[in-house]
Subunit: 147 residues, 2 copies
Amino acid sequence: MANCAVAASIDVVGTRSAILVLREAIFGTRRFEDFVRRVGIGEPAAAARLKELTAAGLLERVPYQEPGQRTRHEYQLTSKGMDFQPVVYALLQWGSKWETDEAGPPLRATHRDCGAPVGVRIRCDDGHDVDPDDVAIEAGPGLITIP
Amino acid sequence: MANCAVAASIDVVGTRSAILVLREAIFGTRRFEDFVRRVGIGEPAAAARLKELTAAGLLERVPYQEPGQRTRHEYQLTSKGMDFQPVVYALLQWGSKWETDEAGPPLRATHRDCGAPVGVRIRCDDGHDVDPDDVAIEAGPGLITIP
DNA sequence: TGCCTGACTTCTGTTTGTCTAAGTCAGCCT
DNA sequence: AGGCTGACTTAGACAAACAGAAGTCAGGCA
């Protein structure tokens, strides 16, 4: 098996509902029933996904209390979870371009300062914008050789 | 169901093996048995995924012939498939940061011109680099209202 | 003509993901 | 003390994803 960081990522967010839950968390959802309703999955699936993502360190279950209410728990993104944002915006960008129906995208992510839609760009560590054709794939230190 | 371009994307590449097959295609794999071997899945799964991705327009099945060999078919990325590269590089970036074991990443994507590792950055259409915290989510024209 | 090989397809069985429906449980409020 | 509500958990059924092994098929070649 030609393993790779991509596969490692998929082990964490490998199901449709996991990515959707994470998307909602990034979009600001915090409470259990909101995840259920907005992701459009059943309660058992939501509970399982939230538990897994919490165990994997992308979400954190923190207590909170609204005045006059009993204490509850909400799910907050950790920095590990926040680092997943480029993946979600990349999916959003691709889906908006290729899979949107006539009505246009239901949700839009925009830059708070200027209002322009956000997406992602491929960029190297030296700061150059990189064209997809100019990416070279090479063996890294942890390569498991492919026979 | 709070649908969204993210969900539309996931409908196309919703399974673990679909993303892995697409990753391999982006990394340069073309032939059936190479997909099977490098993705590390069984032949039936590979065949199903290649067929689905071809039907969805991310891959194209084109005939080719090596000298002295009979005609075969290989799978080439279409422009729709190439546009998926940011998603794969975003997963690669996240996995390299958070899920890599002691050996380091097995594969590295680098900028051909300067050799630096590539990743993705969130960027708005006006060209600003956008901090994840500065992204605003708003309703777009196609929003299905959430009760 | 028949062999050979890469590219699938078919079959069978297991695991995983998901649903609906029906509990359970904690703790503030009356 | 008992009700209510949001947050789960449990149970049972079903569909999809996937593996492994074996079979099919096309077409260049000897």
